[in-house]
Amino acid sequence: MLRKIRIAVSVSTAVLLTLFIIDFAGIMPSWFGFLAKIQFLPALLSVNIAILISLIIATLVFGRVYCSSICPLGLYQDVVTYISRKVNKKKRFRYRKALTVMRWSFVVAALIAFLSGFTVLVGLLDPYSSFTRFAVHILKPAYQAGNNLAELIFTQFDNHTFYKVSIYLVSIVTLIITLVITAFIGYLAWVNGRIYCNSICPVGTVLGFFSRVSLFQIRINEDACNSCGACGRNCKASCIDTKNHKIDVSRCINCFDCIDVCSTSAINYNYSFRLPIKNRKKVVNASRRRFMMAVGVTGVAATKLLAEKTPLIGGSTSVVRKTPITPPGSLNLDHFSQKCTSCHLCVSKCPSNIIKPAFLEYGVGGMLQPTLKFENDFCSYDCTICSDVCPTGALLPLTKEAKHTNQMGQVQFVMNDCIVFTDETSCGACSEHCPTQAVHMVDYKNDLTIPEIDTSICVGCGGCEYICPATPRKAIFVEGIELHKTITLKKEKVEEVKVDDFGF
């Protein structure tokens, strides 16, 4: 029963989250984004106290249910393991010694990386972010291809339910990194079940620390046990020491598989205080040191003082910016680079497909963190989706009104490259796309108009840059700013005009 509940919860969480991530057509309601916000590391980074406390309390009460039921990467591994066991029916797990030093090394490494502004490592280790990148860069293109196939078929029959979507290769580097990580974790799951969760994943390690003292635990009733070893052979976390009838609770992910395979009902999930006193005390003592360590870790993490700025190197875009543009709601470069784990949920949800993983624009430490590129489109004036979905607080939610006055970059105009100047023909494409008329057309010679810019009311949406037809260099582009600003838009009065003549 417990196992069935676990499977139901984990499958629905992961499937709904995945659908939310890959949904390009706006079918999934936006509130499904909460499935990303309840993930551990995003909640920690966004200092979402309520979620964080709930997750820790849940772990203190039930053990690592987060790992078995909420973490989408957990389900991915379970699916791989399931398939591997279908393929190789003789596959057995066996008890392994805990890799305590290794586990905590990854936690410390993640912490040091975070504090030194080398956020890329945190993002690579975070299970939620790894899964989301997998969904964005691998599942979504497949989903879109399926959509385009359906469109082809349905449109033949004059049914316009589906429409074609362009499938962009967001970034080759990101795709490779995602493929490697997904394949690596998949391989580990194929061979050893949940070993990733118990040797590398820092979230698993931290939660494992709490689950040691959890109220409910899986335990073996030695009196009823016939030492058949079935539980150990089926334990994908390899945490049941069948010889000694002991379970390493810090590694148990509460999948409840063992309970279902036990023929004598000797293994069950129960209050931990029913354990013999002797055992309990030992457990508590063993964890004290790590408890202190975790408190220290959390405390240091909370201060987040040491993030260093990394040198900025131009990217491969046609427009090379001195400063990369961070997405709306990111406040400033420092805030953004500290909080973003490169889960790429914003990359996927951006309706204009302009949020792309950086290569070296933010420096090595900020690799994979999203930046705005206007090659294929520009930022919609009314759109606030990226800041709405961001689970880590790297992008803070903006209202539509706040978005209208949020400056994330400033327009630059190079008259010598402008079509109106070089060809002396009309254009105005930039001004046409400018929502605030920070780029507006002023009289030039021969009935022509030429752009004039006012950076004080520019939001940095990139409409001008995107549409500028000048080659080989865009005559107008957006330069990033390290600190987002609020612009002031003049309110204009609606005038009433009485027209009673056609004029011809």
Binding site: G26, D158, H160, Y163, K164, V165, S166, P351, S352, S380, Y381, D382, C383, I419, D423, T425, S426, C427, G428, A429, S431, E432, H433, C434, P435, T436, Q437, H440, M441, D447, T449, I467, P469, A470, T471, L489, K491, E492, K493, V494, E495, E496, V497, V499, D500, D501, F502, G503, F504
Partner: protein
């Protein structure tokens, strides 16, 4: 008269009075309106009414929608839906007008009516927030996406001066007739955005236009063999400043006008002249008008045309 006949007559009379005038019925009453003068009108201008009402008057004077849309026709209605803005901004064609046109096409026996535009903002938001999707679907029409290059096919424009070929939306090429329904707007680069400029919503690569003499390319694209069967200019609200997108409602002016003609140069000239009521815009500054006239696409001399002016 016996009792039975009396009752029958009474019932029929009652039924007749209970029938409401519908768009479909007005189609029947439209035919022949223009023939009273003997010569059909080249251009009809209306002002002072609501969008749908003005269209009904204008199309009746043009000889009825049935003159342009035949039974079984597949029709495309091409409004301007370029921007993610509401109707009050005048950035897009008025939805009431679009809805009325779709309705009338069906009343004239159209097999299907498709509505599309290659938008500048996110197309789904444009279709929805312009209010056009709702009225079109209500009238039984279909909103067709135009957001992807594969929806377009290349056509050659042998008469074009700068624009020799361009990719045009497949549904425009495949339909029996299409109706061009722009909104009257100021445009920062092209000076005015009306019927001719509205063609930039049926092509894929607009950047080419901007890079290769915009005014000439706008005229060139109108040499497309498949010309719109009607141009209906929505001037219910026009965009006076900061066009074609506009900053706020303050850029829109409620002028309650509508112009309709098969002559694209004439209707754009008329609309530009009308625009001069709110802001000075010399005809020769709107380069594509003269360039289109030079390509024999129509005339700028409205005085030579048979024009019907209606004030409501």
């Amino acid at each position: 008269m016996d009792r039975r006949n009396f009752l029958r007559a009474l019932a029929i009379t009652g039924a007749a009075f209970s029938i409401k005038e519908s768009g479909a019925m007005s189609v029947f009453s439209q035919s022949g309106a223009a023939s009273k003068s003997g010569k059909p009108y080249d251009l009809v201008a209306v002002m002072g009414g609501e969008p749908a009402e003005m269209f009904r008057k204008a199309i009746a004077e043009m000889g009825g929608i049935g003159k342009f849309v035949k039974k079984g026709h597949s029709v495309v209605v091409k409004p301007n839906i370029g921007w993610d803005k509401g109707p009050e901004m005048a950035a897009n064609t008025n939805p009431q007008l679009v809805g009325e046109i779709v309705k009338q096409c069906f009343a004239a026996g159209a097999k299907e009516v498709k509505v599309l535009d290659h938008t500048c903002n996110d197309w789904r938001n444009c279709y929805t927030n312009s209010g056009i999707e709702e009225v079109v679907k209500k009238a039984g029409g279909k909103m067709i996406p135009a957001n992807e290059e594969s929806y377009y096919s290349e056509v050659s424009l042998p008469k074009g001066v700068k624009l020799k070929k361009t990719k045009v939306h497949q549904d425009i090429l495949d339909c029996d007739v299409w109706i061009n329904v722009p909104v009257l707007k100021n445009h920062g680069g092209a000076k005015m955005s009306i019927s001719m400029k509205n063609h930039m919503g049926i092509v894929w690569d607009r950047r080419f236009f901007h890079a290769n003499d915009l005014q000439q390319c706008i005229a060139d694209v109108c040499t497309l063999d498949k010309a719109a069967v009607l141009n209906v200019v929505d001037a219910y609200r026009l965009m006076k400043n900061n066009g074609p997108q506009g900053k706020s409602e303050a850029d829109a002016v409620l002028t309650k006008g509508l112009f309709i003609s098969q002559d694209i140069v004439a209707v754009d000239t008329a609309a530009t002249t009308f625009f001069n009521n709110v802001r000075s815009m010399p005809l020769d500054s709107v380069g594509h008008l003269a360039k289109a006239e030079a390509l024999n696409l129509g005339t700028m001399k409205i005085s030579n045309l048979n024009v019907k002016r209606i004030k409501l």
